[in-house]
């Protein structure tokens, strides 16, 4: 906890889908310049919690504070207004459009409503090259692209605009080694610019090496929130699997 007011604070978020309880009193906080790893087994509720913060879903109960104030996030535009950008696990791309169109979707560059296609193309090419991704033609519809290529577009989009908070839901799942490495570098870079990052990942190495804190969920409930380095990698794995916190003085 390096600063007094958290960028994001999610308090007692519950969410049910019909009869299914996906989240129960889930809590999470994030400070500027911090990378928080969000961990848990498949179906633990990680994506659901992130979607609630992103405005893609609404919580059944609980509240969200941004910079200490209660925030009313009803839809994705509300979240954006708070500077929240999201890389969705399902990527959220329009397969019928090309990479620049997807990158600028909803925020097209324009002059009096007329698209500045050339500019968007150029910026998109630049943004994608930062991730070292090989895309043969920027005119190709996204649905024709490989899994990794698509994921890169989704990542580029989230970091291209000035975000304060970035949600990354398994951003490197489809990426090659080199491409993953670039994303991890990118995360460090964003962190240095004071951006807060929520990072969902199943890759314990990356999480251990590159997050400041971790939050572990199990069956929709918090298991533990702690500074990453207060535990060993094995202890974290054991908490993810068992769903019970490892007792330790240092735990927050």
């Amino acid at each position: 906890m390096n600063q007094p007011v958290p960028l994001v604070e999610m308090r007692n978020i519950s969410k049910h889908f019909g009869g299914l309880q996906a989240l129960t009193d889930a809590c999470l906080d994030l400070y500027p310049g911090e990378v928080v790893g969000v961990l848990g087994h498949n179906g633990a509720g990680k994506s659901t919690l992130m979607k609630i913060l992103a405005g893609a879903q609404t919580a059944s109960s609980g509240e969200i504070l941004i910079n200490g104030d209660v925030a009313d996030i009803q839809d994705p535009n509300d979240a954006r207004a708070y500077g929240i950008e999201t890389i969705y696990q399902e990527l959220a791309l329009c397969g019928n459009l090309d990479a620049p169109s997807n990158l600028f979707m909803g925020r097209e560059l324009h002059k009096w409503g007329f698209l500045r296609k050339r500019e968007m193309r150029r910026e998109a090419a630049e943004a994608l090259s930062k991730l070292n991704i090989r895309i043969k033609s920027l005119e190709t519809d996204v649905e024709m692209m490989s899994g990794g290529q698509r994921q890169s577009i989704s990542i580029s989009r989230a970091v291209h605009f000035d975000a304060k908070i970035i949600i990354m839901d398994e951003p490197t799942a489809a990426l090659g080694m080199e491409e993953s490495k670039k994303v991890v570098d990118l995360i460090q870079d964003l962190k240095e610019h004071g951006i807060g990052i929520l990072w969902i990942s199943h890759d314990i190495h990356d999480v251990y090496n590159f997050t400041d804190r971790i939050v572990i969920f199990h069956g929709g409930k918090n298991v533990m929130t702690a500074r990453t380095k207060d535990f060993t990698q094995d202890e974290i794995v054991s908490m993810i699997i068992s769903g019970t916190p490892v007792k330790k003085e240092a735990a927050v």
Partner: protein
């Protein structure tokens, strides 16, 4: 991509080829087909469906449908007729007619987006409502419109071409610009591609859809202006079932119900193909029974021919 590649894969190319094949066949079959008189006819005959098809294709690209265009056209037409026979200035009457159509389109869009009701249902409802209103306003009577403004639209030429075709040209020019050069058009393609994603990326989906249905209503009213010119009258029963023709023009052109894809200009060619089929069979003097059979066959054949492009592209 080479220039040739580009032309070959441009969505318009093949459907234009199909249209040319059809035109060639009809020219061979009848000496009347390729006369200037008949070409003029064709241009007049295609105009109304073509204008409707422009709006319809925008709607279909969003993944929706507008069944109400024929009725909205009729309501706009009788609005104009009713005002003119009440001695309102024809320009004002025309303006009110356009406003009426636009309003109907707006209501469609409003109910679809606010009520989250399927476009099919809402516009089917409007099909009944607008037609009923047209009858209520007129009591079933058709007004004669002998205003020079409309007679000019219906019967005059400009630079050798009938006036209605200029309505078509302007419509397609504007819609083409909107769809391919404006942010709005970009949003329409995104919505049609994946509405959920468009929403997640901050596109105001409801507002954009509202606009699309409003434009479709406006274009139905614009088609009404041409219709009034052509008929010099405003029968409330006009343009029954024309929605099916407009939709068919769009689909023949190659825009699919799936949404998110397609070039609006192809709908114009689709409308032209439909008009040529009817006109050609009329000219050949085919009996109306067999005409229906042949129209069916030729529509399928035209689309089949158009599909060969995918084979050719391999």
């Amino acid at each position: 991509m080479t220039m040739f590649e580009k032309i070959r894969t441009y969505p318009l190319t093949w459907i234009v080829v199909v249209a040319l094949v059809l035109a060639f066949a009809l020219t061979m079959a009848s000496p009347y087909f390729l006369t200037s008189g008949n070409i003029n006819n064709l241009l007049k005959q295609v105009s109304i469906v073509a204008i409707l098809a422009a709006g319809q294709s925008m709607v279909i690209i969003t993944g929706g449908i507008d069944l109400s265009v024929g009725s909205v056209l009729a309501l706009s037409a009788v609005t104009i007729g009713w005002l003119i026979q009440a001695d309102v200035h024809p320009l004002i009457a025309t303006f009110c007619g356009l406003a009426m159509g636009t309003l109907c389109g707006f209501i469609n869009g409003f109910i679809i987006t606010r009520g989250r009701i399927a476009p099919f249902i809402v516009t089917l409802g409007m099909l009944g409502i607008a037609r009923g209103m047209a009858l209520v306003i007129t009591g079933g009577v058709s007004y004669q419109i002998l205003e020079p403004l409309f007679l000019t639209i219906g019967n005059s030429k400009f630079l050798g071409l009938p006036i209605p075709i200029y309505f078509v040209i302007v419509t397609y020019f504007v819609i083409h610009i909107v769809m391919h050069y404006r942010v709005f058009g970009q949003h329409i393609y995104a919505i049609g591609g994946e509405e959920r994603v468009a929403r997640l990326q901050g596109i105001k989906v409801d507002r954009e859809k509202l606009k699309v249905y409003t434009i479709s209503g406006f274009l139905a009213a614009l088609a009404a202006v041409v219709m009034v010119g052509r008929l010099a009258a405003t029968p409330p029963s006009v343009a029954q079932g024309i929605e099916l023709q407009a939709i068919a023009a769009v689909i023949i052109g190659g825009i699919s119900f799936t949404g998110g894809r397609g070039l609006v200009l192809t709908a114009l060619v689709g409308a032209l193909i439909m008009a040529m089929i009817t006109n050609g069979l009329n000219i050949l003097g085919i009996s109306s029974f067999w005409q229906q059979v042949l129209i069916g066959v030729v529509i399928i054949a035209a689309v089949w021919l158009d599909n060969l492009k995918s084979a050719a592209r391999q």
